[in-house]
Symmetry: C2
Subunit: 205 residues, 2 copies
């Protein structure tokens, strides 16, 4: 009886490395096997099939993520802080969101932040119905924003550049100063913070 060549953990480790270094689409059973120096079918013994492997990867990653820590004096400030922390957390683990999104477990990823928001909203003294709307609206705004950031960033070098798209804008009734501004690249950090603040202000009014 000789020691096992791989284990569930070593398979997950290698899979995680593959995803982090080469992206989600590089994760194939055969490449994984080659990486581990083992026959493809050995992997199946340890983790089941590909879908199960990904599920276990998602579980592991979600466990690592950790809670978001709110900071600030007023409930309003703390709600905004949770939103910013959530975005930062997702940004710090770009491979995670691909994995989680592709496997349809976004709702679970958002749960810690949802709870943190619920605490702050409760502290702000809102009743259940109005409070739930605030929690969910903020949560949706933040996560949706990050998903879109990802989608747009992934875009190829656009054939028509952003500036060109707005060159003819005044001909179709768009104010020139506005068109010029919209032709510039977006400062995502600034836009995120401004829109989050506006949303929270609108919700707490």
């Amino acid at each position: 009886m000789n020691t096992p060549r791989v284990s569930r953990e070593s398979v997950l480790d290698a899979a995680m490395r593959l995803v982090e270094e080469q992206g989600f689409e590089a994760l194939s059973m055969r490449r994984l096997a080659a990486e581990l120096g083992v026959a493809v079918t050995a992997i199946y013994w340890h983790v089941g099939n590909r879908e199960a492997l990904i599920a276990q990867l998602v579980d592991r990653v979600l466990a690592q993520l950790g809670d978001v820590a709110p900071a600030g004096r007023s409930p309003r400030q703390r709600i905004i802080a949770v939103g910013k922390a959530l975005r930062r957390m997702i940004h710090d683990h770009p491979h995670v969101i691909a994995l989680v999104y592709e496997h349809g477990r976004t709702a679970l990823m958002m749960l810690p932040a949802e709870r943190a928001l619920a605490r702050e909203v409760g502290a702000a003294g809102l009743d259940g119905r109005r409070g739930a709307v605030v929690v969910r609206a903020v949560l949706h705004h933040v996560v949706g924003y990050v998903l879109l950031e990802r989608a747009v960033r992934r875009g190829p070098e656009q054939h028509p550049t952003t500036a060109e798209l707005w060159r003819d804008a005044d001909e179709i009734g768009i104010e020139p100063g506005l068109a010029r501004e919209l032709g510039r690249p977006v400062d995502q950090d600034r836009l995120f913070e401004l829109s989050l603040r506006a949303l929270v202000d609108g919700l707490l009014r």
Copy 2:
């Protein structure tokens, strides 16, 4: 000289049908060929390779989408109307967003709505810098919201159901009435409209 068996258009038609009926992942060159009753390689002659095929599909779909029509009396109402129309448009073409998202051309899909928003924001009398923030914040909110809706809807029947997730909430400092409310299913239409209104209110203040 006999007539061609397929054309660029017939290939795109068949590909579109495949995506609409069986989803994006069902679109393979070989299946497409089988559907058309032709050798796989014939497709390559007409559309290039798979990536090029998808690009042409995206172009065609974006051309079909049409503009969003604003309605309402005040600029504020019209901005909200554009946001709602954009979400409806994306919802009406669920296969489109998969295609566009997967191919990184989300920014182009948003352009008509962005222009409609720019007109309304200009009419509201905001200057360039502030107006651009409003346009982009609303646009990001709406599209991000829809992307997240998609992600969450795709989630498998969660092992822990939503209600269970909030059962122990009061033990970790969450107000019971709020926890009960968060355990209920989300009314997406209502939440979308409320959060959009709040965002616009916060932005126009």
